[in-house]
Amino acid sequence: MSELLQVRDLHVTFKTPDRTVHAVNGVSFALKRGETLGILGESGSGKSVTLRSILRLHPEHRTRWSGSIRMEGDEVLEMGSRALADLRGRRVAMIFQEPATAFDPVFTVGQQIAETIRRHTGKSETDAFKRAKELLELVRIPSPAQRLKAYPHEMSGGMRQRAMIALALSCNPSLLLADEPTTALDATVQIQVLLLIRELQREFDLGVIFVTHDIGVAVEVSDRIGVMYAGKIVELAGVEQMVDAPQHPYSRGLLASTVHDGMRGQRLEAIPGAPPDLAEVPTGCSFAPRCKFVRPDCTTAPPSLRATGDTHLVRCVLAA
């Protein structure tokens, strides 16, 4: 099966005594090995929730899932705890935004990587540490032998993030999930980490899903980009198509309002209003209240994803 990951009609709802949040409302996409899918969205779009659902990281008692997530053919939403433990870390690895909290502060970096290796592959401690050192070299951490003995707080932000990538790759996963891993990094460090991820992806033929709110970052790493809004994918296209000719009014608005070179002196085209409250399932298109091109039939029924080309999908009634 060439499909590494297949997500179909995923719905994720959080229920608390105070309120219900429909975080993800029907997301579908597929990913092959060696491919990077960038998920672009703002806060509240559901992008992080989608990602974390692939590993079922949300607290079980508050979360309701429906739909299907198939990892190499196995249904994640029906996995028992042993299969899930095998999935997490070994078949699918994840890196997070805040490397400081991803590591345990009372153990050295070497100990944590070695522990993961031993847990999933049963290697001896010496072998595991050897492998940990190799991994630190792989992610270009200088003086890896010494860094094995370093504690997380003794490393700089960029180095911690590289160490986290090393941890993620320690058990040869086939899928890497990245949840805004460079958002908290300085610009000069961010580009280093992005290039590293690209290089590692090529070298290990990984499938990568990269969640970000920064268009530039998405363009740098992705082969395809999916734009999310209010819990749905509103546009899915190859990276060049998305940048050259976005079709969904939200994607277009997003690109137009992102400040970059040469916009000095012009008024920014801001998307008016704010994202909707996710407590209710919308009756029509979620973007309708803010859309320049809104039509009467936009509010009657939620639009479906239509193909406007081989690999271009748009969730809008206006799409050809």
Binding site: D18, R19, P272, G273, A274, P275, P276, D277, A279, P289, R290
Partner: protein
């Protein structure tokens, strides 16, 4: 004077963001959460009952708590006219317990209130001013804090002598350092928030800033901590009285009663344990209420 921007209702869709459309202040939402918490309500109800009974003691038609009777010593529970029996000197237990509540509660709550005022003031000052003042205040507190509270209470009481006033004084002194420490910690935290910097940047006086911005955010956690101290205070006061360092006989006070009823353990254990039961109930109610208060205040609105 509004700016000419294309017609956008910037609040569109966001006003419904909260569960109810009525804007709710922090304390109102805390009160709302407390009302829905069954444990806190039960404890509050129990305490109100105990306090009310203690306050209304003279009018409840109880027997005289000081009247002794050598014939009717250590009558068991359920004796005619003596619902809860009598103590080792023949005094009515029910009356002693209810009247005892007055002193025990007073000895529990008063030191905490005093410590709250003094320790709170010192802690907030130390936290807000920082620097050398902070160091001075906190290191002095550390010296007292180094002693376990029971030991400190006993030493102070022992040095000053027994009696209600001395007990109050020593308990207050015992509680000032922990309250001060909590206040300082919370105040330092709030002091670091941007909105306090913004208030300083607006040129308001320090007192105004503390009053408007700091107090509202700091009183909550301090109050929670103080309520949890009340249960400790009640037990400490009772303990001191038990040791003979607190209230002097013949005053009814639960701790003292535990002491004097010691000999009755072999004769009527239930009777001897009754004051302990009262201490337990009161103390645990304060404790659970403090927990409930903390949980209600913890949610970020």
């Amino acid at each position: 004077m509004a700016i000419q921007t294309p017609s956008l209702d910037l609040g569109a869709g966001l006003v419904q963001a909260t569960a109810s459309s009525a804007s709710r202040g922090y304390w109102q939402s805390v009160a709302r959460r407390l009302r829905r918490d069954p444990v806190t309500l039960i404890c509050a109800g129990t305490l109100i009952l105990i306090v009310a009974a203690s306050l209304a003691a003279p009018w409840l038609g109880l027997a005289d708590p000081y009247k002794t009777s050598m014939i009717r010593r250590l009558l068991p529970l359920g004796s005619p006219n003596y619902l809860l029996g009598t103590d080792e000197l023949g005094r009515d237990m029910l009356a002693r317990l209810i009247y005892g509540g007055r002193l025990s509660l007073f000895m529990g709550v008063t030191p905490v209130v005093c410590a709250l005022l003094i320790g709170g003031l010192l802690g907030i000052t130390a936290g807000f001013v920082g620097g050398r003042t902070n160091m001075l205040i906190m290191r002095v507190m550390d010296v007292f804090y180094a002693f376990p509270s029971v030991l400190l209470a006993i030493s102070l009481s022992g040095a000053m002598g027994a009696g209600t006033e001395n007990t109050l004084l020593s308990l207050t002194l015992v509680f000032i350092p922990p309250v001060c420490r909590v206040s300082e910690s919370v105040t330092t935290q709030v002091r670091g928030f941007d909105f306090v910097d913004a208030a300083r940047a607006s040129g308001a006086s320090t007192l105004t800033i503390v009053r408007v911005h700091v107090l509202g955010n700091v009183l909550g956690p301090i109050l929670v901590y103080a309520t949890s101290l009340i249960s400790v205070a009640i037990i400490l006061a009772a303990g001191l009285s038990f040791l003979g360092l607190g209230v002097k006989p013949p005053e009814p006070e639960w701790g003292l009663m535990l002491n004097t009823l010691r000999q009755a353990i072999y004769v009527n254990p239930v009777l001897a344990a009754l004051p302990g039961v009262m201490i337990f109930i009161t103390s645990i109610c304060f404790n659970l209420m403090s927990d409930g208060l903390r949980a209600a205040m913890d949610v970020k609105a």
